[in-house]
Amino acid sequence: MSEKIRVLLAKPGLDGHDRGVKVIAAAFRDAGFEVIYTGLRQTPDMIVNAAIQEDVDVIGVSILSGAHMTLFPAILDLLKEKKADNIILFGGGIIPDEDIVELEKKGVDKLFTPGTSTDETIEYVKKTVAERKKDEKIM
């Protein structure tokens, strides 16, 4: 029996541009994931709490406002604090390459940039969740 992959999609901070996150949400839903979309203006706290409550495998964060170096680390810190850092954190938006390198070093699993296809993100989630579940079985 295969369980549905559970994904929380979130818009943190003040950014209101939700075209991308909604396209991802629709694509994920069509791909068979269980999608929970938090809506706009979420604080890192709200996102992490919702993720834990909804028992998701993955959190996908969309940031186009330039505030990524503040918001991603805040989410990472909270996940660690609440012992929920087995949840995979990925994201997309307007994020310069140097910042992607830094954020991925800090623990963001993957950051996608403009031009990425929804298929690529779907494959990424499937693969990453499968690997994580395998690791957890071994542990």
Binding site: L14, G16, D18, R19, K22, A26, L40, A67, P96, G115
Partner: protein, 557 residues
């Protein structure tokens, strides 16, 4: 326009041509021939596709009802469109420097981009502003910031557009206060305030209060300006953002006009004379990539608006019938890959805006998928407009594409599609109802998803994204970065302002504002008093929250 004999002969010729063409049709250069909005485009358009009998009524003449060919008699021969680059970054001082740079290089109007905290009504030192200050526009907390932004710029000599919505009245109050300090009388002030809250709920999503009190703020502003700031465009009723969110051209047109009509009805209900305020309503459209679809859209826009203003709202002043608009080239059409290609995209989109008769134009910079525009990139964007204006000859004659079988057919089609949406919105109870029920948001999200799927199935090619891809490209252009020190500086500055001002006066003016808001007082007038004594924008917005409430959107996918 075409007599029966001519049309019969045309039909014969078309039939012959069609039979001949059939032997070539097996070979197709692309899988589908659709516009950006997904509309099928015919192989060929002929006199059979246009309503020749209706030329005088439907196409007509520039500056004359129904204005399909343009809102003014002489259009660009009298005055070129305003070259108005949307601009703002970091601190007010940095923004002021960019404004001087743009004016020096031939820009003919100013346009202010504010940062997210300002757009949402938060001061730079608010906890919600963390990480966001100055990142996508200029930070404004008080009149002191506005003074710095316009340092060395005479507000009696420029026109300024301000892209601000939820706290728009506050920013206009600040602009007027700066003018006051410069000694410029209000009746000399020219410019535009975006101030279009309805499209925020629909697309841009930058709000504070719920629809009803937000519309009240707008009608208050309209009343104040009609009397005191007669050259100011009170709203820039916008389709740009609706389109950026993924809508089709017909949706962009219809939803924008529906928003406009909602404001008109609200102001009329408020007792304002339509012929007093309508001449100062303006519009703002996207210039997306499908060249002819966009031109058709602008022409249809003018025609639909003129007709409804005259026939439905019974406006008598001809100036009430004019749909004057600003255009911005489509941000969502730009790619992060091979960014120099964006120069080309922007140029072609700008051209469609000009051929569509825009009054004012912003051209995007090539690097805007990566950052705010660098000086180099924004200069190219500005020069693009200047090349179009002076080197291409397209501005030598008015509405050059009129009479094109294709363009007239498309104008008619998009007009019909938009009218159908306007009727549907009306049937569903109006814009506010549609927003509450998520109808408009869903239409847009569906169109956005369809468009993305077309790209992924390669039914739609985007150069550099799903074809002509360069895997190992290096981005070789300067990228602007907003330093983290901006946030610290702004936060410190606003704290300093709060400490040094007359806080008794601030308290009193805020009390007067809340009184006005609770009753029928003019909120803009009250805000003017607040900003004069350096009440901050955050304080003004916060004061109204308990009275107006705060908007929360139920997430719709």
């Amino acid at each position: 326009m075409f007599d029966k004999e001519f049309l019969d002969e045309n039909a014969e010729n078309l039939k012959k041509w069609d039979q001949e063409a059939e032997k070539f049709r097996a070979k197709k250069s692309r899988p589908r021939f659709i516009t950006v909005s997904g509309e099928e485009v015919n192989e060929l358009y002929t006199p059979a596709d246009v309503d020749g009998a209706e030329f005088n009524n439907k196409v007509g003449y520039p500056g004359k009802y129904p204005y399909t060919r343009g809102v003014h008699h002489t259009m660009y021969r009298g005055r070129l469109w305003t070259m108005r680059q949307f601009s703002g970054m970091g601190t007010p001082k940095q923004t002021n420097e960019r404004y001087h740079y743009l004016l020096k290089n031939g820009q003919t109007g100013l346009s202010v981009a504010f940062d997210l905290p300002t757009l949402m009504g938060y001061d730079s030192d608010h906890p919600r502003s963390l990480g966001e200050v100055g990142k996508c526009g200029v930070a404004v907390d008080s009149l002191a910031d506005m003074e710095l932004i316009f340092d060395g710029i005479n507000l009696g000599e420029v026109s300024t557009s301000m892209t601000i919505n939820a706290p728009a009245s506050v920013l206009l109050a600040m602009y007027l206060a700066v003018a006051e300090k410069q000694g410029v009388p209000f009746d000399k002030i020219r410019g535009t305030l975006q101030n279009d809250i309805l499209k925020e709920y629909i697309a841009q999503k930058e709000w504070i209060y719920p629809p009803e009190p937000s519309i009240r703020l707008i009608t208050d502003l309209m009343a104040f300006c009609t009397e005191n700031v007669p050259q100011w465009n009170t709203i820039s009723i916008s389709g740009y953002h609706i389109r950026e969110a993924g809508s089709t051209a017909a949706q962009e047109l219809a939803f924008t006009l529906a928003d406009g009509f909602t404001y008109i009805e609200a102001a009329m209900k408020d007792g304002q004379d339509v012929d007093a305020f309508a001449p100062r309503l303006s519009f703002f459209f996207n210039a997306h990539q499908d060249f002819f679809e966009e031109i058709a859209k602008y022409r249809a826009a003018r025609r639909i608006f003129a007709r409804r203003m005259k026939e439905k709202y019974k406006a008598k002043n001809e100036r009430s019938w004019l749909l004057r608009f600003h255009t911005q080239t489509a941000g969502c059409s730009l790619t992060a890959q091979q960014p120099e290609n964006n120069i080309v995209r922007t140029a072609l989109e700008a051209l469609s805006g000009v051929l569509g008769g825009t009054q004012s134009l912003h051209t995007n910079s090539m690097d805007e998928t990566l950052a705010l525009p660098s000086e180099k990139a924004v200069l190219i964007a500005l020069r693009t407009q200047q090349v179009i204006a002076h080197e291409t000859g397209v501005a030598n004659t008015i509405d050059p594409l009129a009479g094109s079988y294709f363009v007239e057919a498309m104008t008619d089609k998009i007009e019909a599609d938009a009218e159908a949406y306007l009727d549907e919105i009306e049937r569903r109870g109006g814009v506010v109802k549609c927003v509450e029920e998520g109808y408009l948001q869903r239409e847009i999200a569906r169109a956005a998803y369809r468009y993305q799927k077309e790209i992924e199935k390669k039914e739609r090619i985007i150069v550099g994204i799903n074809d002509y891809v360069m895997d190992d490209e290096e981005i070789d252009i300067p990228i602007l970065r907003i330093d983290e020190s901006v946030e610290r500086e702004q936060a410190a500055f606003v704290k300093d302002i709060r400490a040094k001002r007359d806080n008794d006066k601030v308290k009193r003016t805020l009390e007067d504002l809340t009184e006005a808001a609770k009753g029928n007082g003019n909120t803009l007038k009250a805000m003017l008093d607040c900003v004069r004594v350096y009440t901050t924008m955050g304080e003004i917005c916060d004061a109204l929250k308990p009275i107006f409430g705060e908007y929360v959107e139920p997430p719709v996918i």
